[in-house]
Amino acid sequence: MHLRYMPGASALHQLHPLVKFGWLLFLSVLVFALRNPVAAVIILAAAISLFAAGRLPLRSVAGMRTALAASLFLAALQIFFVQDGEPLFHLWSRAVTTSGLSSGIRIGGRFLAIILLSYAFVLTTSPNDLSFAMMQAGIPYRYGFALVTALRLVPIFQQEAATVYKAQLARGFRYDQRNLNGIIDLPRRFLLPMLVSSLGRVDYLSVSMESRSFGMLPKRTYLRTIPFQRRDGFALAALIAATVAALAAPWITSMQS
């Protein structure tokens, strides 16, 4: 399964895209700011519970195994190479120490938490809704539509790239046989047709948009509104409170000490 938006009706799906994005940002910064391995584990647990809340299949998402393997590798590196602190036990003649274990959990947990949080966001947020929400929140609509049209063009370009590849096979380029002949020229033969056709596409699209008055006024109206509901208000209030608390915490602790 590809890593892209999966429509659904869970609370996570329905959360306002910008509030959700705010939380993603907050938690990602937090997991880096906190040096305690327990914090990394807690945020990781929170990320996993988000998958449950969004009714997302944790296993079938593309790249999940790679992410898990990478985070275990990172953790293992720390555990093996950080040698200060109290030794706990020995593994293959290397000491596993308290600080090695703690930084392994911290770094591996951080990595996995960030990946899972981002996945949870991408899987439950329609990129289209996100762009419209951004525009309605005041981001200039030209930038918003740059995103929307990119979403529109990416699948078209993918399809065209596949066609160009097929067309080369059909003309006897032996990419499908173990043969390096001509493989050096592949990028050049590939890029020119793609460049020519994508420039054409962009031209075509801009005629279509401008001839429907795109860019006429500094603002525009929207038929699609991204509703800001009561629970979005609560989520936003909670986010602000959490941010204030997180910012204030070091002050408080430093004043106490």
């Binding site: 067309a167 380029f173 401008e210 006024l217």
Partner: protein, 497 residues
């Protein structure tokens, strides 16, 4: 309403003007069709009236164009957009959002129309193109005809008094084409709009008696009311009648089934193709024509069944090997030009196959001469016109004489003269013992050349018969839009597609 005075336009870097001294008056409420061979300046004229020409290209113009008294050459595009709506050829590529709702609302939103009014106008616009049922859909899930109807709705939603359609049906099957033209005529009648249609497929427009303007080399050469007269043109077949020579088939397909992303695209197709066959492959958009063609060169993996092409099992032979026997021309010429010069392009495949010798050299020269490309052999392929690129695509396949020719909608956007050139060449190849499969939406042209017709319906082979018998079967199945014009039972406006 619209007035052009001595209007001339030259594209940057082009020696000849695309339009020269065009004078034209179009009154409010007129229905105008602009026709002419490829490269005659039709699209340039459409873009000029819509006011986008000078914004798109470095502007070398002379003369004046005014719409409702406003000078569209100087006015910003968004201002002209309030007077002129433009529907382009390819619906897929003119969408800038992801859903039907967003797309139809787009123009109104840009003008800061309040939400309640947008909502109402979106519904009205979709109703006028008979597409209200598509309101909640994503654009990617629509068929070609549905997409073009939504594209039209997205333009008429802002209610411009002038509508320009630039070959709105060139990517559509005949049934969808007929629907689109009926929609266009309906919009015009109800809304008392001025409508300009740029089109090759004149037969479909005859029932509406439009004013026909013909362009050639950037000049108006004819301007008259289209009559129903040529309707009675006799049905010609057998323009190309090669002998199906061998008893042994070149292509054998048995119980072919293909699934893509879990959806069955082709089901239980069995047939044999012999040397000398010229086969017209037709069907609605999405009926599986392209997939079928790609199966024959191994580009699509089969789920069940067997495909043998010139002795190779297509499911086990690499495409680049099978390609020696089966030449394939794709729909878009820009996707299949890989060399740095016309000559290199024409000889690319034979060199890849290690089959370039003196006789190939000679044949390529002859083919290029016939295609009128011999003076351009040093030029980069991308410098050619659309029609010339198409001819080059054809030459680069014919140069190594594959025994099966697979051609996917190569007649799209080709004027009759260019189309005939392509078909005559295919006919020649068939005479030399090749089998030709031509996926097309042009029964008027292909009926003259083909000896056999295949018609696909939702992945199943509904008709496989010699040409005249096959046309009879199509008529009985109710697919009148897929018959040559001379066989239409009555003016198309009164029958169902």
């Amino acid at each position: 309403m619209i007035s052009l005075r001595d209007f001339s336009f030259t594209y940057d870097g082009s020696p000849q003007p695309a339009l020269s001294k065009v004078n034209l008056e179009i009154a409010a409420g007129e229905f105008v069709v602009i026709a002419g061979p490829s490269g005659c300046g039709k699209t340039t004229l459409a873009l000029a009236i819509a006011g986008v020409l000078c914004q798109q290209y470095n502007c070398k113009t002379d003369g004046k164009i005014s719409v409702q008294g406003a000078d569209v050459l100087r006015a910003p595009v968004y201002e002209t957009a309030q007077r002129v709506g433009l529907v382009q050829q390819n619906p897929e590529l003119q969408f800038c959002t992801l859903t039907v709702l967003d797309e139809v609302a787009f123009g109104l939103e840009n003008r800061c129309v309040p939400r309640e009014i947008i909502e109402q106008r979106v519904i009205e616009a979709l109703e006028r193109v008979n597409a209200l049922h598509l309101l909640g859909r994503e654009l990617a899930s629509l068929s070609g005809g549905e997409k073009q109807r939504v594209a039209i709705a997205s333009v008429i939603a802002t209610q411009p008094p002038v509508l320009i359609f630039d070959e709105p049906t060139s990517n559509l099957d005949p049934a969808a084409t007929r629907t689109i033209f009926r929609v266009v005529e309906g919009i015009r009648e109800q809304g008392e709009l001025t409508v300009i249609v740029i089109e090759h497929k004149l037969a479909f427009l005859r029932p509406f008696f439009p004013r026909l303007i013909e362009l050639e080399h950037g000049r108006i050469v004819a301007d008259e009311t289209m009559s129903l007269q040529p309707l009675t043109a006799p049905l010609t077949t057998g323009r190309c009648s090669p002998q199906t020579t061998s008893k042994e088939p070149i292509v054998t397909v048995q119980d072919l089934c293909v699934q893509i992303d879990g959806r069955e695209i082709l089901s239980d197709i069995s047939l044999e193709i012999h040397a000398g066959d010229v086969i017209s492959v037709m069907g609605r958009n999405g009926s599986g024509k392209t997939t079928f063609l790609q199966c024959l060169i191994g580009l699509v993996r089969t789920k069940r069944g067997m495909v043998f092409v010139a002795g190779h099992d297509a499911s086990e032979t690499p495409v680049s090997t099978l390609a020696r026997a089966a030449g394939y021309v794709f729909q878009n010429p820009d996707h299949q030009l890989f060399a740095n010069s016309v000559w290199e392009e024409a000889t690319l495949a034979p060199k890849n196959f290690g089959a370039f010798d003196a006789s190939t050299d000679k044949r390529t020269v002859t083919l290029l001469e016939r295609a009128g490309l011999m003076e351009r052999v040093e030029d980069h392929p991308y410098r050619l016109s659309f029609g010339q690129k198409r001819r080059l695509n054809m030459v680069s396949i014919l140069s190594y004489q594959p025994v099966v020719l697979l051609l996917d909608e190569i007649l799209i956007g080709q004027d009759p003269a260019n189309a005939r050139f392509l078909l005559d060449n295919l006919c020649g190849a068939a005479g030399e013992g090749a089998a030709v499969l031509l996926v097309n939406h042009h029964p008027d042209l292909t009926t003259e050349y083909a000896n056999r017709i295949l018609f696909l319906e939702e992945g199943r082979l509904r008709v496989d018969a010699p040409i005249s018998e096959g046309l009879g079967q199509l008529a009985r199945l109710g697919y009148h839009a897929f018959l040559p014009y001379a066989m239409h039972p009555s003016p198309p406006s009164e029958t169902q597609g």
